[in-house]
Amino acid sequence: MNRAQRRAHARLWPILVLVLLSVSAAALVAKARIDSAAIEAVAVLAGDE
């Protein structure tokens, strides 16, 4: 790689790391919320019986 390409990589990766981290975190949080809501719903249903 020449200097310009090395610089482009060095600039790109911090941004990509942030993007990957935030997407993964947002997705996992959303999933955890839905999963716990589902567990609650099951508990409510069970309680109704």
Binding site: M1, N2, R3, A4, Q5, R6, A8, H9, A10, L12, W13, P14, L16, V17, V19, L20, V23, S24, A26, A27, L28, V29, A30, K31, R33, I34
Partner: protein, 352 residues
Amino acid sequence: MAHGYKIIQWTPFKKSYDAALLLGVLVFISAYLVGALAFAPQGERALPIQVALRALGACAFSLLTLILLIGPLARLSPRFLPLLYNRRHLGVTCFLLALIHGALVLLWYHGFSDLNPFVSLLASNPSYDSIQGFPFESLGVIALLILFVMAATSHDFWNNVLGPNMWKALHMLVYWAYALIVAHVMLGAVQGEKSPLHAIVVGASAALIALLHVVAGWRETRRDTKLADAKNDGWLRVGPPNDIPNSRAHIVTPPEGERIAVFRDGARIYAISNVCRHQGGPLGEGRIIDGCVTCPWHGFQYRPQDGKAPAPFTERIAVYRTRIEDGVVFVHSDPAPSGEEVAPSVIAGAQQ
């Protein structure tokens, strides 16, 4: 590829590379099919067509992860350099797998509605403002388009048409494609699955890719800031000639311009630009084969005395003057006039 380059010398397993790739793809898909069809709990078993399209998506993702591992691994250790050789075959295979994956999704999930399948794919779920129900398919579509452009321009014809810098800039889109696919899976399959397997595999793959790129990039930046000792007159200190292994090079970083590769061929010392004309491969990590410096990435060759590729090829790189003084090699940071032959420095008392 340069004339006279003997594949066998650099990558003895080049031919088996494609066979291994095909075998790997088949084993991966079979294992996925067997795992999902035979071992899924009763009641959660998907239809074979669904399992097949998932297997293809998973295989394309794994292949892309492997492809993106090769670059930084080869920067960190030369042991991985031979893997770079046929990386484009991996890339094209990844695109084809993803294409079949997308086509099956289109047929199976969107082929039976009254809507045009493409409209159905992109518009039937409009929750672009939510995370949980995000139409993650659209991210896959953009990634597939990027993979298509890269596969279509992967041939050297396009490298020549676009020029190596433009070509490289275009192919750096692959990192965005990877991020899009990570999001595609995190917002898609991960949300639908009970088991955390998808999240763990995709998260760990992305973390590994990011870590290796950041570490390799950090090392390169450090190398760029560790300049060679320079005298005022432009001569850079390289070190004792016999510290350079035979047929190999030491790479020095001048205060300005590209790195310089200083080669030893027996008792002769030559210096050339470290940047290959093909795609910027690090020539100083290659070696001299049949009198020509051979690029470690794809085997382009250059004569170390004038920087010209052997006929019929026409590429040319810069060459630099060297001298040996008090048992130390120096290289001048200004390239010699283009095309001019530069006499090597000869190590005193050494056998030619």
